[in-house]
Amino acid sequence: MTRERTAGLLLITPLGLVLLLAFVAPVLLMLPTSLHGYVPGRGITPGWTLENYTALFTDSYYHEVLARTLGLGLGVTVLCLLLGYPLAFVLARLRGAAAAWVTILVVFPLLLNVVVRSFGWISLLANRGLINNALVQFGLIETPLRMMFNLTGVMVGLTHIFLPFMVLMLVAALRALPRDAEAAAAALGAGPVKTFFLVTLPLTAPGMFAGSVLVFVLSISALVTPRLLGGPTYRVMSTVIYDQFLGTLEWPAGAALAFVLTVIALLIVAVAGLVTRRWTLAR
């Protein structure tokens, strides 16, 4: 037993060390940075302060960014649920080659580079993009619709990025349905609509919940899509962090914001884990 334990430790140490050095240590080392001040031109000041955190609660600019980020996450999650459920429902009922092909078509965008996918939406949504050009050409509008550098653009882009995750989670939940539950409801006289709302939907609720948590957490921490489709002016937490670290060099303020984002993400994942455990125990 002890020999095996030694072997096990030796085998797991390299990966453990890399993860510790590349994730845990750097994130923890940001905490002290976030507790320093910053003076433009002079850099990071030596004294300790909580001003970077208090600013997040008092500064109206940060209020706007925080509210926008969380609102966007919520909107994207709801959109993914609304679009993901019908597609997952169809996919879960398909058989054979059709099922395989639809699965590939859902997974394919997931594997595609985020920059490429955001670029696709830029070419569609820009002021002189394909949608506006078509609408103007057909005389439906005079001036282009503003669909980029605002909520619409970022929401559409993020929904497109995270929809496949939701679909895959929901398909798994639908396929795991007890085989006879729907048949029993139908045999007892429930129509398809009633069966769906009273049986299928409640039984897949844990899957919907897991998918929503995943999409929400990924949405609030996305960088590329909000940056490309939101531009330099329509900012969310991650793009503000990006600018503070690579642009204005206000590292302490950026570190504080990054810490808050991490805490939000980890809290949501932890609470979701607790809820899911309660759920499974209750059954």
Binding site: N113, F119, S123, L124, G129, L130, H160
Partner: protein, 262 residues
Amino acid sequence: MNEGRIPTVLLLAGAVILLFLLVPVVVVVLAAFSNTEYLAVPPQGFTLRWFAQVLQDETYLASIRFSLVLAVTATALAAVIALPACYALHQRWLPGAETIAGLLMSPLIFPAVVVGVALLQYAAMVGLRGSFPFLVLVHAAIVSPYIVRTVLGSLAGFDPALEDAARVLGTTRAGAFALVVLPSIRPGLIAGLVFAFITSFDEFTVTVFLLPPGQATLPVTMFTAIEQGVDPSVAAVSTLMIVVTGLLLLLSERLSGASRPI
């Protein structure tokens, strides 16, 4: 879930939603062949000049090379450190194997942008800012969960009696691993490696903070190009990436057999 007829309304809705997923991809591919200075769909005329322009552009070529070297090295390193860990976990040599497996997946929970800025500060602190080996190490850490997941999954489906048989027949533990275990988990391992490679090649959010001065990965170069303005040459690079990603997906489907979602 019961089999049966799917209502037409639902089929239509499903098709429209699938279309929403695919439209930006199709648009990019079509625009890459347009003989215009701006993006046009349907393409006006037909030309390959945007592809030619990209393949002669030293900035793009250098970043493609950079991304390839980075992704291959990081995937190899991740496999070398993840395989032993998976084997130890599978053999239950350590107490709390489930918890450890969960911890090994934890890189997926941290917001990437936070990891990026944390690593930027860390690299600046220890004097590794812009170091290529450091970037490789970070990428190996980022892609390791994908390998751990597929390999642990394959090992769970592996019959331990086969390994015992090899041991009884006189092979060493390492020999049994190389000759019996590894070949039988190969499909899952290859799928994991392909996915790890794609993830490393595509990674933007952490990478952008850690690049050596004057060098960039392909996604970062494209990002910069898009921020400066959109033209069909970006569509051409995107099309190349779409084609390669599609080929890799088909390859891993072939090699891993079943069409299971990742």
